[in-house]
């Protein structure tokens, strides 16, 4: 019988620690699929963050490093400078990338480091039981804004792609989601483009993935996907904010 589809070899066949309906499993599987399709296991190095994806190195069968909270882009920089022909990606959540590690995010982009950041934005600190993140939506309830996020009290949500788009050395910035098969395929294409950006030494690339956290959104997995489509993507519109191929740079 002909095999039409099989799990990627680069993904270990183990149960993950992710909650039911979480988006991390989808994104990590996409990374594994791309590594298989392009046969780049031997040259890909990943960085796992502090946060829900801390154990990504247990699921992806590639060389990986841990990084302190917020520092994956700095660690990725250190690795990429030693191995400039390898594909180096930093896998980060919103607390990691947009709160404690925002300086590293901005300056790694400003240097135009040839790395790819895969930014999983689920608008909440999942690992620590659902506190407010920099990307938590207005009126969204979390354990540290139990009455809902208020702009006056907690500040406004940070739009990372829009923020980074002002940086000249930033080469590829896009926001995608994993709410349906079409969007999942778009996410896969975006990660591929991120990898192609660094393979062509075109500079810094970041793929922001709007991803569900049903447990701390207190929604069913299906309602979480709808929430992304109907609510979250209004604050964080999907689309490409910088593209070196279109700018001819």
């Amino acid at each position: 019988m002909e095999t039409l589809y099989a799990p990627p070899k680069t993904l270990h066949r183990v149960a993950t620690h992710y909650c039911p309906g979480c988006g991390h499993g989808i994104v990590q599987r996409l990374i594994a699929e791309i590594i298989d399709e392009w046969d780049i296991r031997g040259k890909t190095i990943g960085i796992a963050p502090v946060g829900c994806a801390v154990l990504a190195y247990n699921y992806l069968d590639i060389d990986m490093s841990e990084a302190a909270h917020g520092r994956p882009p700095a660690v990725a920089t250190g690795i990429k400078r030693v191995h400039p022909d390898n594909i180096v990606f930093a896998y980060q959540g919103d607390g990691d990338l947009a709160a404690i590690g925002l300086a590293e995010t901005i300056h790694t982009a400003a240097r135009g480091e040839n790395i790819t950041v895969i930014f999983v934005n689920n608008a909440v600190y999942g690992m620590t039981n659902g506190q407010m993140a920099p990307t938590t939506l207005l009126d969204q309830k979390t354990t540290t804004c139990p009455e809902g996020r208020s702009a006056d009290e907690h500040g406004s949500p940070l739009r990372i792609c829009e923020l980074l788009a002002t940086i000249d050395r930033c080469s590829y910035l896009t926001r995608v989601s994993v709410t349906n098969p079409r969007n999942v395929q778009k996410t896969k294409a975006a990660i591929k483009k991120g990898f192609r950006t660094q393979m062509g030494k075109k500079g810094f690339s970041l793929i922001e993935v709007l991803s569900p956290c049903p447990v701390y959104w207190r929604m069913s997995p299906i309602d979480s996907m709808r929430f992304i489509d109907d609510e979250m993507s209004r604050t964080y519109p999907l689309g490409t904010f910088k593209d070196w191929e279109k700018e001819g740079s």
């Binding site: 490093s65 920089t77 250190g78 690795i79 300056h107």
Partner: protein, 367 residues
């Protein structure tokens, strides 16, 4: 064994630290400006492009130490440098480096503290360096040079020790050692056997993946890992202690000092011996591992110790722990950027040391 690479040249301690790193094969340096270590970052910015290396002025001390983490994980020789406040910022990163067993070299050109303090020489970061300023049960090998030449020599050794034990190594200097100029000679590093870095991240090409981490969430794993770390630390304590001992044989008082204070103490020893006092010097070169056995041995025949530091008294605690009350331990320290003069120290010695020769009197001594 060592072959000379250049003729002697006049250099600041900071420049010597940077150049020695390059001679030792370090091709990756990440730093952030802070006085009094700026000659290191400036020298690296000039030299790294000449040797095909990488220099990045990081956006913060935190970014710099994490870039170091990346390059160390990728298998390269890598260095960063800073002073007081900047080293404090690096502490989380140092804990991760120790927990991930990554070899690297960190230079601390100490300045006065706490807080912003000042930019004068100090030795008040001893506790931070030796006891671990970051979280968790970890150790750094800490080397304390006391001349520009020794800075260069110890930087070579620091890279070897880091690679040998997969552990961060700190060079603990100070503003005086970093800023002063002395003749220095660079050697082609002697070839020592170092284990291949099979654990490094290179891309898992035709081999099982490598993972660099310090996270052990499964119950019992972290304790097991910690036991292994402690075993490594015991081995370092057994193998790598270094110190210099001068005139201790018949000494009535032994000065214990490192770095700048050891230089001053050596002068004190020479002056005091001219007027009939038997003063010795024990100079720790490794602050961790600490030369506790040497001190214990000395305590069996020496009447008293005096520890001299540019701090409120930090290393003195390790001296006391080493000799376990066998004889008195006196302390003379200056703080907040103050550097002790030889006369200050001699006057303090005279206060604590019973006169050896009745003919001598304090008043008669001209120093």
């Amino acid at each position: 064994m060592k072959s000379s690479l250049h003729n002697k040249q006049l250099m600041t301690g900071n420049e010597a630290a940077a150049e020695a790193a390059i001679q030792a094969g370090c091709r990756f340096y990440y730093g952030y400006p802070i006085t009094p270590q700026n000659e290191i970052i400036n020298h690296m910015a000039m030299r790294m492009p000449q040797v095909g290396g990488t220099f990045i002025q990081a956006e913060s001390e935190i970014a710099a130490i994490n870039m170091l983490h990346g390059s160390a994980a990728a298998g390269a020789r890598v260095m960063t440098s800073s002073s007081g406040p900047g080293i404090s910022l690096k502490q989380e990163g140092i804990s991760y480096l120790a927990g991930s067993e990554l070899p690297c070299v960190i230079v601390n050109v100490q300045r006065g503290g706490p807080g912003l303090g000042d930019i004068s020489p100090s030795q008040a970061d001893y506790f931070q360096a030796v006891k671990g300023g970051g979280h968790g049960d970890y150790r750094m090998i800490v080397l304390a040079p006391s001349s520009v030449q020794e800075i260069a020599d110890l930087v070579y050794d620091a890279f070897d020790l880091a690679d040998k034990y997969r552990n961060p190594v700190m060079i603990l200097g100070d503003a005086q050692l970093g800023q002063m100029m002395e003749p220095v000679e660079f050697y082609k590093p002697a070839k020592t056997y170092l284990p291949p870095k099979k654990w490094a991240l290179t891309g898992a090409d035709g081999r099982p993946k490598n993972v660099i981490k310090s996270f052990y969430p499964v119950k019992g794993e972290l304790e097991k890992f910690n036991r292994r770390l402690q075993k490594k630390y015991r081995k370092i304590e057994e193998t790598e202690v270094r110190y210099e001992e001068i005139n201790t044989k018949d000494a009535d008082l032994v000065l214990v000092a490192y770095g700048t204070c050891a230089r001053i103490s050596r002068e004190v020893m020479n002056k005091a011996s001219k007027i009939g006092y038997r003063i010795g010097l024990l100079r720790p070169i490794t602050l961790w591992p600490f030369p506790k056995d040497a001190l214990r041995r000395l305590s069996q025949r020496v009447r008293t110790f005096m520890v001299v530091e540019m701090s409120a008294g930090q290393m003195v605690e390790d001296v006391k722990l080493s000799i376990l009350g066998r004889c008195p331990v006196h302390f003379y320290g200056r703080m907040g950027g103050g550097v002790p003069s030889t006369n200050e120290i001699i006057n303090n010695i005279l206060e604590v040391l019973p006169k050896i020769n009745a003919a001598d009197s304090v008043e008669m001594i001209e120093i």
